[in-house]
């Protein structure tokens, strides 16, 4: 089990900066994020967008801000569990917490800080009857280990970059790949789109354009999918796997069941210290709400600073906190 002072859920800009504020007060942090990389929305949704309201930066590219934050917190040696969504939270006898991820990773800490933005990014799912029933039994929303698909029949649905890239990659190892796309053409990277069209021309993949998934069929495991073409003709394609790749969308997920006071999927906090109604759990950044809340990165940074002052009382209950400026004390690395 991983042991730390503060377990931060969400490695977006606010979660990352919380490591800095905690580090100044000698508190160690472990961060958990459902995405495989740090940076949250900035890295996942808009890495190339300029941001204009970070104090001291007239203009900063979203990914650059994340890279700078990574550099800023490096002296405090944060540890990470990436690509795993949090699942359960339990209280320990000594007043701390254990956070468990869906993959079974456990983090024991004295304080939990939720900096989860709008929740964890989860795959968008097509609206098909019984789809959930086949999840893990032939229906999968991400390619974790390509070897799973060696010499198997696959149907990939979607028209974005990840659908194109995985079609190209998996066509070399799978027995057969069928790509289904709703439109007549692809809007993804032109190079990838060309490669996919070439593979189809050469007969190496089956490409169904202007086609829609209608149903997943099987008895316990996926046996086939039904697809409707432009002429409204439905045909059945035999397959071992269906991989819908329709991008990611944020969801609050299991955090909603942790006994925290919520208002429209946001966690209610006190503006004194950004504490939730559960002692020892704080919420900062876009995930929280309070009168006058503004969903701005700079507000999240402020919230992280105040949170850390109060979290100190949980991590070092017998010590008195004296406030020190970095200009006086510098940054003392762990």
């Amino acid at each position: 089990m991983i042991q730390t002072d503060i377990c931060i859920i969400g490695a977006g800009p606010v979660g990352l900066f919380a490591v800095f504020e905690a580090g100044l007060l000698k508190m160690r942090c472990h961060l958990i994020d459902a995405l495989p990389q740090i940076g949250g929305q900035l890295s996942e949704i808009y890495p190339k967008k300029p941001i204009y309201d970070i104090p001291g930066f007239p203009e900063v590219n979203a990914q650059t801000l994340v890279d700078n934050l990574r550099q800023q917190i490096a002296p405090f040696k944060p540890t990470f569990t990436l690509g795993e969504r949090v699942d359960a939270l339990t209280r320990t006898e000594d007043g701390g917490f254990v956070v468990t991820t869906v993959d079974g990773t456990q983090v024991k800490s004295k304080v939990v800080v939720i900096a989860a933005g709008l929740g964890s990014f989860e795959p968008r799912k097509p609206e098909l009857q019984n789809l959930e029933h086949f999840e893990g039994r032939g229906v999968t929303y991400m390619v974790k280990d390509p070897e799973t698909f060696r010499r198997r029949k696959l149907v990939i649905a979607g028209g974005g970059d990840s659908a194109l890239d995985w079609t190209i990659y998996l066509s070399a190892i799978a027995e057969r790949v069928t790509l289904i796309h709703r439109n007549e053409s692809f809007r993804g990277v032109p190079d990838s789109a060309e490669k996919v069209l070439k593979l189809a021309d050469e007969g190496k993949i089956d490409l169904l354009l202007s086609a829609n998934l209608q149903a997943v069929n099987g008895n316990g495991v996926v046996k086939s999918v039904s697809v409707m073409d432009k002429q409204k003709v439905v045909r059945e394609i035999e397959t071992d796997f269906l991989i819908p790749l329709f991008g990611l969308s944020p969801k609050l997920g299991p955090i909603a069941d942790w006994g925290l006071n919520l208002d429209k999927s946001a966690i209610e906090v006190s503006t004194v210290d950004y504490a939730t109604n559960v002692e020892g759990i704080f919420a900062i950044g876009d995930i929280n709400t309070y009168p006058g809340k503004l969903k701005l990165i700079l507000c999240g940074f402020h919230e992280a600073a105040l949170m850390a002052q109060r979290a100190f009382e949980f991590v070092y209950p017998s010590q008195k906190l004296s406030f020190k400026y970095t200009t006086v004390n510098g940054v003392n690395a762990f």
């Binding site: 949704i45 967008k49 709008l118 609206e127």
Partner: protein
Amino acid sequence: MITFSVEDHTGQVQTLELPGDINLSLMEVLKASDYPIAATCGGMALCATCHLEVLSGGDRLPAPGDAELDMLDTLPNATAQSRLACQIRLNENLQGACFALKAPALV
């Protein structure tokens, strides 16, 4: 005043009447009117949580731009009438139009 109607996730249709001189997107109007949409990306056409379908009266709306088309292209439930509310400005083009919310409701 601009009048248009919105069908929510439960199928209920409500008519909205707004002054034409407020500089807002349809997404911002829907949020301000307490429709349960997340609008995660704040209007950059990057999250599709304001995805809606034009049921009628959409012929005067300017055609979607590249960013909007790219995002719509990734959605499993998009149709030829799909739009992102954040890319539609509130003006007289909306007069008499009818929209249906398509993005999953925020609970």
